[in-house]
Amino acid sequence: MAVEARVQPGLPQGVGRLTAGWKAFIVVALAVLAFGLFAYWYEASNGMVVTSMRNTGTMGGATWGLYIVMVEYFIGVSLAGIVIAAISRVFRIAELRPITRIAELLTVASLMVGLVAVLIDLGHPIRGVINMLLYARPQSAFFGTFTLVAGGVLLTSLAYLYLGGRRDAAKIADTPSRLQWFHRLWAAGYTGTADEQERHQRVMFWLSVGIVPLIVIALSTEGLVFGVQVGRPGWFGSLQGPDFLVLAAASGLANLLVLTAIVRRALGDWNRIGVGVFKWLGRFLLAAAAAALYFMVVELFTLLYATPADERQLADALLRGSYAWIFWLSLALMVLGLGLLIWQAATAKWRVGMLVVASVAISTAALAERYLTVIPSQTHATLLPYETGSYFPNWVEFGVVAGLFALGALLIGLFMKVFPIIPMRDEEEVTTNA
């Protein structure tokens, strides 16, 4: 069947065109980022005592606070993006192809922000990085976390994003614009010969095959950071690895769905990202959220059933103590999100607006669940005879975290203006009369 070439003037998908809405978005994001930088500067100048974090036990606080919660959340979010992109390539799911670059970008941005959150949690970030490179020990789950997540997954995702975009870079490299040098650099001499295409397919296939087990190991290790700590009730257990993975899938898919809806609206191109894409994401999210809810119930049942006193104390704090509002809110949001997805699946009527509501509910529930994983075991579950403690983040921590979200949004927003965020169709061409 002959394919009619679709020719469009100038750079596609609004690349290089700074609209009023985009400028407003950048100004707001920069303002929030500036506030986050100020909060971090305040913390770095005065010491971590200006945060709500305190020593566990002796000072009745939590040494791992909101920053570590966000590390777990952001790195979890990174899972779904690259896995969706890999699945789309390996199994040749054409409906998902338009969102592969959005998914890869979400992975890269969330990994970068997650790793920044790790550094922010350190009193001396530079010393932490140097000592990790010099003295890290493979027996520690942290070794796997940093080497596999920071080294393996981030680098592979960047390679994936770069190589996957070469063909589009070559397509737009001849279009005169201020970004032409960048597009030529990205294309790196790609001309689209049969050999190049075959080589590209081979590389992307093996990267896809390699990255899925890599990210599963990396994220399971992230869960093991908690799961192997025998002296901390609520953390120790074999479920932490798979639980981390499942919740990561749910939160990642939810964020990917919301980002896809935002990109669709921003580009105003309803055909390029059709409802079919959202159906796929909705079904994946339904499965992941159901599994996440299952894990929540199983863990709660285990915690309540004839457990030692320390575990019972933790369960009380979650169910009717100081963390109860977060726990019940998390459960309610997860049930709400899941309910909306089940209803749409049952009626076979997928609505983007409702999917976004379900995604926001599930993502918020996942964030709350991360909070409940990290914090209560430090304040309410020590095996030594300390009084129960308390922790709630203050403005410094909230400010820094808001800055992290702004940084992630900026990374994605800026990318959209320098490169097509949706892979161009095979028949798509651009003219040079920008």
Binding site: L133, Y135, P138, A159, L163, G189
Partner: protein
């Protein structure tokens, strides 16, 4: 040429990862007071190994054909 460089980068990468992993463990001592790696900086070798393997994919795709 392309294949040789790619295979070389992958082999060197995995070798560095194994070496880095093993050399980062404090072999021969059970004391917590002596917990430094056998080779200081061994974790960096592991990371270099990861970089090498990922670079192999990029090199394989980017190296120009002979006739170009």
């Amino acid at each position: 040429m392309r294949r040789n460089i790619t295979v070389g980068l992958v082999v060197v990468g995995f070798a560095l990862m194994v070496l880095g992993f093993l050399a980062a463990a404090p072999w021969g001592s059970s004391s917590v007071a002596d917990s430094n790696p056998v080779i200081v900086g061994a974790p960096m070798l592991f990371l270099l190994g990861v970089v090498s393997v990922v670079a192999a994919a990029v090199v394989y795709e980017l190296l120009p054909d002979k006739h170009q």
